[in-house]
Symmetry: C2
């Protein structure tokens, strides 16, 4: 089973002058060749270590599975303390492959696996409410931070560690904390070794938003009973498919190229619209990957470019009743990507109840499977008729393998788009300013200059506050 991509509706033969011409595609051959070359060179130079993840983790997977086996019976919930890539990937995979009401099911319907919570914010209500819901002494807390200096995650860890130690003592608390972090640098590996926490490593050359297929994502998935070997197998399958140098045979590269062309012609919005509840959080995960990788001020030569495409999360058919009015009639400023599924995991049929009512009669005997797929096709038709750029990625079925393919597909597409844009897709310099301002406001030593700069910023006028 492999995913397929249909990009007919990006081209002039379906959407007229709003589409991309064959001549434009042909004219970009030099850029494609250059991007191919850069991708290969970076991979050889070890700068795309995430591409090796489908192949080099056999021992890690065994370690994870053994650990899950040892711990799962001892805990009621597995709690991820992470933010950004450390939260979005685990949530997307859980939503895709597990029961949508997983935490509400009795344990036997969860295959004996613990509940999953992902605590990805420092809203003070979050932890308080969580501890009104579950007993922290019956949870395993997975602290995920590559640098070990993520304020949000580390502060949650500090709060929980104290609570656990007060309630059950240092020895027992130690067993309820597991760290996922860099093997060498940062506070968290120091702490983990010092205090004797079980820990897993994030390869130092793999960035947060490309880390779902490391223990960052594999450990939570395994604790929820998901097939992590299948995920990696799917990623390996997609890796093979992404080796084609002919762009017409390389779906991920073509996805990037078409979006690149869109970006250079006023399509500054990338809508991801799955027609499956299971794939809803793929849009959230993709939003980080695409936004943080491609939203850059400078190109690799230091030239100011201010590029990037803003990801928008939608859900079919739900958002036909929320967003499609805008997509069909608003500005010609977006590329809409439908994520479809050939075969859903369940079937449900509408009874022939109101045969005499025109707007209801036609539904009798139809399955929801048919209804959702027909509405997807109808929305595609309507947007195409309105000359809106759109394309469709279809999974034969949502399985660990096809999900692994999909995640890896978007990672390769993002990296390739970075090459076409001539930017560094793997850094995030733009978040430093906010971090430094936070440190300055808390009076952290070494941030006096920043504090002075902030104090000197233009004052707010009361008359612009209502």
């Amino acid at each position: 089973m492999k995913l397929r991509i249909d990009y007919n509706n990006m081209l002039t033969h379906t959407i007229g002058d709003e589409g991309i011409t064959q001549a434009t595609l042909d004219s970009l051959s030099p850029a494609i060749l250059a991007a191919n070359k850069n991708m290969e060179e970076k991979r050889k130079a070890g700068k795309m270590a995430w591409r090796d993840l489908p192949y080099n983790q056999n021992e890690i997977v065994e370690d994870i599975l053994n650990y899950v086996n040892e711990m799962k019976g001892q805990i009621e919930a597995f709690v991820v303390l992470g933010i950004g890539g450390s939260a979005l990937g685990p949530m997307a995979v859980q939503q895709a492959l597990n029961h949508p009401y997983y935490n509400e099911l009795p344990r036997e319907k969860r295959g004996g696996f613990p509940k999953l919570y992902v605590v990805d914010n420092v809203d003070p209500e979050r932890l308080v409410y969580l501890f009104q819901t579950i007993d922290p002494t019956k949870c395993l807390f997975n602290v995920i931070s590559k640098s070990g200096s993520t304020s949000e995650t580390m502060s949650q860890f500090m709060i929980i560690k104290q609570q656990l130690e007060e309630k059950i003592g240092i020895e027992a608390a130690r067993k309820l904390i597991v760290c996922t972090t860099d093997a060498v640098t940062g506070n968290l590996i120091t702490i983990a070794k010092q205090e004797g926490y079980k820990h897993f490593y994030i390869p130092s050359a793999v960035g947060g938003r490309f880390s779902e297929l490391t223990p960052v994502g594999l450990l939570p998935a395994a604790f929820c009973g998901l097939d992590i070997k299948g995920l990696l197998e799917g990623a390996a399958e997609m890796d093979k498919m992404c080796e084609a140098s002919n762009i017409y045979k390389n779906a991920a590269h073509m996805y990037a190229l078409l979006h690149y062309i869109g970006m250079t012609t006023g399509k500054n919005i990338s809508v991801m619209m799955p027609y499956a509840d299971a794939l809803k959080y793929i849009s959230d995960w993709y939003a980080q990957l695409w936004a943080e990788s491609l939203g850059k001020q400078f190109d690799v030569n230091g030239k100011t470019v201010n590029v990037g495409q803003t990801p928008v999360k939608a859900l079919g058919v739900t958002d036909q009743h929320s967003q499609v009015q805008l997509y069909a009639e608003g500005p010609f400023d977006k590329i809409i990507v439908f994520l479809g599924v050939d075969e859903y995991r369940e079937t449900i049929t509408i009874p022939k109840t109101y045969g005499d009512m025109p707007s209801l009669g036609f539904l009798g005997g139809v399955t929801h499977n048919n209804l959702i797929q027909t509405e997807q096709a109808a929305t595609e038709y309507a947007l195409t008729k309105a000359n809106r750029m759109n394309m469709t990625i279809t999974l034969p079925k949502v399985t660990p393998q096809t999900l692994g393919q999909l995640l890896y597909f978007f990672e390769v597409a993002t990296a390739y788009a970075g090459e076409l844009l001539n930017i560094d897709a793997f850094d995030q310099p733009g978040v430093e300013e906010g971090k430094n301002a936070t440190y300055a406001m808390f009076g952290r030593p070494g941030y006096d200059t920043k504090k002075a700069e902030m104090d000197a910023a233009p004052a707010k006028a009361d008359r612009y506050i209502i």
Copy 2:
């Protein structure tokens, strides 16, 4: 307690040439006067019936509360069958005012109120999985459709009605279905009367996305124990604040004006970024309101305009680790609205655990309340320094009253933006094409011409499928 809006960072004195000048604001006086006049006239002509909702529902509220009182002990869950505005409003209010793990709490911690589920998609897995989680014969199903012809909602209703009648008989099933629909037209009111279902009305002049303060939103909220009178009181407070003709004293009108100016100068994206988990789904509700109201092909004179701003949902601080890189460094194409909270409902303090580690030590003794607010201020600082248009709406605290203010604020702002854009903010002609295509594909009588049109559409080429 009233919400306040701070728009300093939309103006040149903080963000330089990327900002709006006082001269621009002054030059728009005629447009502001015209918009004020149109708003008043429409209100008088009964075309903004949603503005009367804070005042004219005393009897309806009593009916709702009595019904909740009668039914709440008899059911384990209240299930909304609705899509678009019929789902987004109820979810946003529940998330804002109730416990975030509401459904997982034991009944006594829910004040004796039932669980809440909102089934807003026709993914065939959705209903199957829901019925693996709860027993449908212990639920009250709220079918919400003004027209009574919403395929998704009505098909769900038909499935559930059949299941209930098979399991517990027609008489008992009747008590477990409650309809919210138009008082006169459509299938659902016909069905409700014919089959004897309890029903509530959506005023015919109130459209779906402006219907949260009708029984569409009030009934689910009341069934979850929320203070619906408080919601309406808050809306009434905001209504008074929105009467000011001086735009510098009218927050909702100013919000619309600033976004309107943004739209005319390349800001085609509206980011809503609450710094509170409780307000997360306000962004989803706002996304429909803003997108569907303002995304229009034609202005009121029939001129092609293709206007509209694409709403983007973000969450602080979480999305600082996902989207802020793009917001700070990408194109100058968005307005970022922070939604802040002065006082959270809980407090939690970080212990002084790692005083000797520079990147952790400063956190010791800090509350998460202080951390989230400081990060919000730091992100605001960073984006302002990068000359990005941003503004902040602050709620003193999230309560039924302030939430009512906020919902009503955005409704007025949306309507006013529609006047400035000179479009009809209350229709949605762009969704008809997809609906008709769906009917045609199902062979619904009367849609032969559409079917023929679809068959004649440009064919897809296999070579553009990978």
